[in-house]
Symmetry: C2
Subunit: 330 residues, 2 copies
């Protein structure tokens, strides 16, 4: 009998998630019936948005879910063959059976497999759609992105540069700031823990910013509202500063009135909005990777046992680029 | 020599504006030269947005400005005749000379003159454009409007009803709540000083709201973010709770993260955005007034000397509907 190790949500995190919120269990995987495929996950993703779902809708006591990249190792389904690589929503487990719903085949010749959880996957499409669709970015504009060294932020910044704009990024350490400037080609970058965001925005974009790609909230959002130009757009991808709020919620920006005379728009979004952009995205992104214009980093933990640690690490800044857990060899 | 009494900004208000921030002066008006018209104002408007401009850009020591409705009493300009009524931006004064720029003739047969500063004027167009254009209101949706008994809010609510939707309004006294329900035809209304906004929204629109027409900020915005439906829109017309902030700014909504999964959009605007809707607006609004579907109230102070008192009264709730100052007879 095949055994799948998986991670369940033992209890809802109160504030910052801790190891005790998770439990490693072993599940027997039944034989694949007609119309089913058996998938072995190779990589799984951990992402900040999961924190919200742990508070809201992931059932306690059940295996968590999330993006993963697996290989079909047995198929009783006409549309899938053994050896197919599939993006799936069944992370946090080693093996699973599926009737094919929600599996999408990926082309392993276009880009490395792990990138389908990063620049070629959800974070990449989040950056691409959030900037170009929700943020209505126009070539040559000035963009500020917070959490800029992360899986989404670093792609946002590089797309701005590819499309001829100016990009300012913030990150939480001097090493990351250095990476933004010297690897990802940002025009200006600062450490939000030690610098004054508004002063940095004025330095990096003296005439104002057109788009603020929001990942953080708090003081950086206030600075962006103050320094944004008329008709500026603020796509709200996340507000990581608020995810671990517990009891007392963190106050929002004190200067939302800035939106009025400047006709500024704030708009929340999640990646599911960009289904119709996906094909163009894969084409653009693979060519940018190929040409060397799109760089990426991965932090890879090994083994399903390390998944909670990898997830918690997102909130303590222990990743450099996309945080992944490797569950098996390709 | 013609003397015009006018009101200057003596000092910038610190927090709530007070009488000492204003000064009544008398100015000699020169003779109209070729190409100029002499206008006598009949009504002037006081509006909450002026508070922001007193803090920011109205020059200290100079006559204030704002919407007014006047009559051409002498014309050396080919496009204007004596007796023409003109909307103009030269409020806070009895007489002025103009080369015609910024004057727009109004049709006194369509609606009463004073309404061109109210339902047929800037507040009306603000409501119309803010709801239909910025708020992307679709027939039948559920709308929450704060400061609902004001010049803008009461029009928003009535347009929603004319277009088949559900409208909830908040106001600052039980009398105003009564007026919303019994005169303006709101479906639900509450006194924000004594009621819990979120509980009231749940009562008035159990399935959620689609649009929050934002005039106030604070707790009502938080309740709206919580109770708004996916793809909801929040046109930001004003945040009167924040205008008189002094020193310590008031915190913003703690739950902006609600925007993310619900794809909610917040968007600031001012009436200047709706120039291309103006013609349709005047047509719609005059027919709604004519048919009795659009009701309005005016609070009229008499004499230029009373203008500061009228303006300050906006922030203490002493108006019922559009606040006007009458400067002369038509």
């Amino acid at each position: 009998m095949l055994i799948s190790k998986q991670i369940t949500l033992k209890s809802r995190p109160q504030g910052m998630p801790v190891g005790e919120n998770f439990e490693l269990v072993e599940i027997e995987v039944p034989d694949a019936r007609d119309g089913e495929v058996l998938v072995q996950n190779i990589y799984m993703s951990v992402d900040p948005y999961m924190r919200g779902r742990m508070r809201l809708d992931f059932p306690v006591g059940e295996t968590l879910a999330g993006g993963a990249l697996g290989k079909v190792i047995l198929s009783n389904h006409p549309n899938f063959a053994e050896g197919d690589y599939v993006n799936n929503g069944y992370g946090w487990r080693e093996y699973f059976l599926s009737d094919g719903a929600g599996l999408s085949k990926v082309d392993e010749t276009l880009a490395p497999l792990s990138t389908y959880l990063g620049v070629m996957g959800m974070p990449g499409l989040t950056a691409y759609g959030g900037l170009l669709v929700t943020g209505e970015y126009k070539d040559g504009e000035a963009v500020f992105v917070s959490a800029a060294s992360g899986a989404v932020g670093s792609v946002v910044g590089q797309i701005v540069k590819i499309k001829g704009g100016t990009v300012i990024g913030s990150a939480g350490s001097d090493e990351k700031v250095d990476q933004l400037l010297n690897e990802f080609g940002f025009d200006h970058a600062f450490n939000y823990k030690t610098a004054d965001p508004l002063a940095e925005l004025r330095r990096g974009a003296p005439d104002g910013i057109d788009v603020y790609f929001e990942n953080v909230g708090g003081e950086q959002l206030e600075a962006a509202l103050t320094h944004i130009r008329p008709y500026g757009r603020i796509p709200i991808c996340g507000m990581i500063a608020h995810y671990n709020d517990h009891g007392q919620l963190t106050a929002g920006p004190r200067n939302l009135t800035e939106t009025i005379y400047k006709f500024v728009q704030l708009r929340g979004f999640v990646v599911s909005a960009f289904g119709s952009q996906r094909e163009q995205f894969l084409k653009d992104m693979s060519s940018w990777i190929e040409s060397g214009q799109m760089k990426y980093h991965e932090t890879v933990y090994e083994g399903i046992e390390k998944a909670p640690e990898a997830f918690i690490g997102l909130f303590t800044g222990s990743n450099n680029g996309k945080m992944l857990v490797k569950l098996s060899d390709a």
